[in-house]
């Protein structure tokens, strides 16, 4: 569905590569989290999927990016937006309408969707994002989490197969952040939308994503199923990436030879680990494959 073939890119007026030698394939229906320090190239990678690079940000582009079979360099942002929806950090800077339903209809009108069809698409997007009750609300009166779900609804109204999100929860409180991730999980599981999200909250990434990519200095340095990336928590800490506290705990239990199984991704699984040790049942997780470059 998305393929990076030996991709490197440097922004105009910069002699440094923002991303280098990227080779990756993301399949239909994946839920991918991208994590890494500031300046690692995470946002650059996302901008190559929705075509913002090279169509808005210019620079030197090497290799090729294929999205739904189309070469992004030969396509346009407009054409790509039929396949890829984008959500950014700050919902305030993305919302243009004063009423929720207008915000969602805005994109549909721009896409020349026939007036008769707009109502159905609007209702569908509200339902999919779990915000039917907000339809007639003023956008200004919404909480941060609600606003961000409105921007997600506006993006999915255009029926993209792929949704890319750049730190969508950084302005949100814990409840709002969890609401956003829960909505994304639903879109991914029930509607098969491929999700690619850049995020600093490693606890939420671990819990919700099936695959993690770790970036540093423009490269993808780890890429694999979430649980197997967490196996390399020492390396993550070296890179200045936080680990979920339950992973730190499990590491200590491993060091004490109390646990030899896999790492838990959420509190439920951590409970299983601890009960396993306390009760001696010791269920082990499967350790899937991981590629380290």
């Amino acid at each position: 569905m998305i393929r990076f073939n030996d991709v490197s890119f440097s922004y105009e007026n910069s002699d440094e590569m923002a991303v280098r030698n990227i080779n990756a394939h993301i399949g239909r229906g994946e839920f991918v989290g991208i994590i890494g320090p500031s300046g690692a190239g995470k946002s650059t990678l996302l901008s190559m999927i929705n075509g913002v690079i090279p169509h808005f940000y210019k620079g030197d582009f090497y290799g090729e990016v294929l999205v739904c079979g189309r070469d992004t360099v030969e396509s346009t942002c407009g054409k790509l937006s039929h396949h890829v929806g984008s959500v950014f950090q700050d919902p305030e800077s993305q919302i243009v309408s004063t009423v929720v339903e207008d915000e969602i209809a805005f994109g549909l009108e721009n896409f020349n969707i026939p007036a008769g069809e707009i109502e159905a698409r609007l209702a569908e997007a509200l339902r999919m994002a779990g915000i039917e009750h907000l339809r007639h609300e003023s956008t200004a009166a919404l909480s941060g989490g609600q606003k961000q779900r409105v921007t997600i609804a506006a993006a999915i109204a255009l029926r993209p197969e792929i949704l890319v999100l750049d730190e969508p929860t950084s302005q949100l409180d814990p409840r709002g952040s969890r609401q956003v991730f829960t909505t994304l999980r639903q879109l991914n599981r029930e509607y098969g939308i491929t999700i690619i999200i850049v995020e600093q909250k490693v606890m939420l990434l671990s819990e919700f994503c099936s695959r993690l990519m770790v970036m540093e200095k423009g490269r993808i340095i780890m890429d694999g199923p979430t649980r197997s990336v967490l196996e390399h928590n020492d390396r993550l800490l070296e890179l200045g990436i936080n680990c979920p506290r339950i992973v730190t705990l499990t590491k200590l239990l491993k060091n004490a030879s109390l646990w030899s199984g896999g790492y838990p991704v959420d509190v439920d699984e951590a409970e299983t680990v601890v009960r396993g040790i306390m009760e001696g049942t010791h269920d082990q997780y499967q350790e899937p494959e991981l590629s380290i470059q």
Partner: protein
């Protein structure tokens, strides 16, 4: 040091109360977290401390100065304020001038000022950037520039509105370690944060604000176990406390992964321990 008595506030006469009868005492050298969901009144309460907003009723006194009558500029000698978004705070053409700005306004001697700017820049890892334009720096660097300009004033009290937002983990730890060392030097810290891991790692006392009222106010370890209040305020306990709570009273004092591991090791039944 900070005394808030029956403070209520509304933005105008027809608006609802944003702060509703708040009373708090914060002593010298405390490290306090102020938590709650977006819209709970946290930033409004912070702005009452430095006189940017004045009480509709009740009073706020800082080192004995009543914010209702004292000039904001005088309060600024006692309280430093770091805004949530550094871009709302930064406006000078170079990092040097940005750090210098507040000092010039306090009419100090030129040599003293220069020395202090360089010392603070060093503390925050900005020494190589003094001639740069702040807006060419990364968000994390801009946040440190804003913090430097606040620290330059050497106030006894520091008020920080989500100082770690938008930072990666490494930058977050760097900023919090600086704040921690300032606290150890005796400064009083009041910090708004949405990151319960940061709160549990650094803040001794936690105040939960909900709908303009104080819902909880106690030692951080105690407050972060009050699942019901936290849920009401749109928060959730840190992972380790959530996990510990699933085992009833067994791990009731556990806060960190290290605490939890020690407790498990000491009570794991022999049959359950893998050789």
């Amino acid at each position: 040091m900070i005394s808030i008595r029956n403070l209520s506030y509304r933005y105008n006469k027809k608006a609802p109360l944003v702060l509703d009868n708040i009373s708090l005492e914060i002593g010298r050298g405390e490290f306090v977290a102020l938590v709650g969901q977006n819209g709970a009144g946290k930033t409004t309460l912070l702005k009452q401390l430095n006189g940017l907003l004045k009480p509709s009723s009740g009073s706020v006194t800082i080192n004995g100065l009543d914010t209702a009558t004292v000039k904001t500029s005088e309060l600024a000698c006692h309280i430093g304020f770091l805004f949530q978004n550094p871009d709302h705070q930064i406006f000078c053409g170079t990092v040097y001038d940005e750090i210098r700005f507040g000092l010039v306004n306090t009419r100090r001697q030129q040599e003293l000022i220069d020395g202090r700017i360089r010392r603070i820049a060093g503390l925050l890892g900005l020494e190589g950037m003094l001639d740069r334009n702040p807006f060419t720096l990364s968000k994390g660097e801009r946040q440190r520039v804003a913090l430097a300009s606040v620290l330059a004033l050497e106030t006894e009290i520091l008020v920080l509105d989500e100082p770690t937002t938008g930072q990666d983990y490494k930058e977050c730890v760097e900023i919090m370690e600086i704040v921690k060392s300032l606290n150890q030097q005796g400064k009083t810290i009041i910090m708004v944060s949405h990151d319960m891991e940061v709160v549990v790692d650094y803040c001794e006392r936690t105040i939960v604000l909900h709908n303009g009222r104080v819902l909880e106010d106690d030692d951080t370890g105690i407050v972060l176990r009050k699942t019901e209040s936290l849920g009401m305020a749109g928060l959730e306990p840190p992972q380790i406390i959530q996990l510990a709570q699933r085992f009833g009273p067994l791990f009731q004092d556990v806060i960190s992964p290290e605490d939890m591991a020690r407790a498990i090791i000491s009570c794991a039944v022999p049959g359950g321990v893998r050789a």
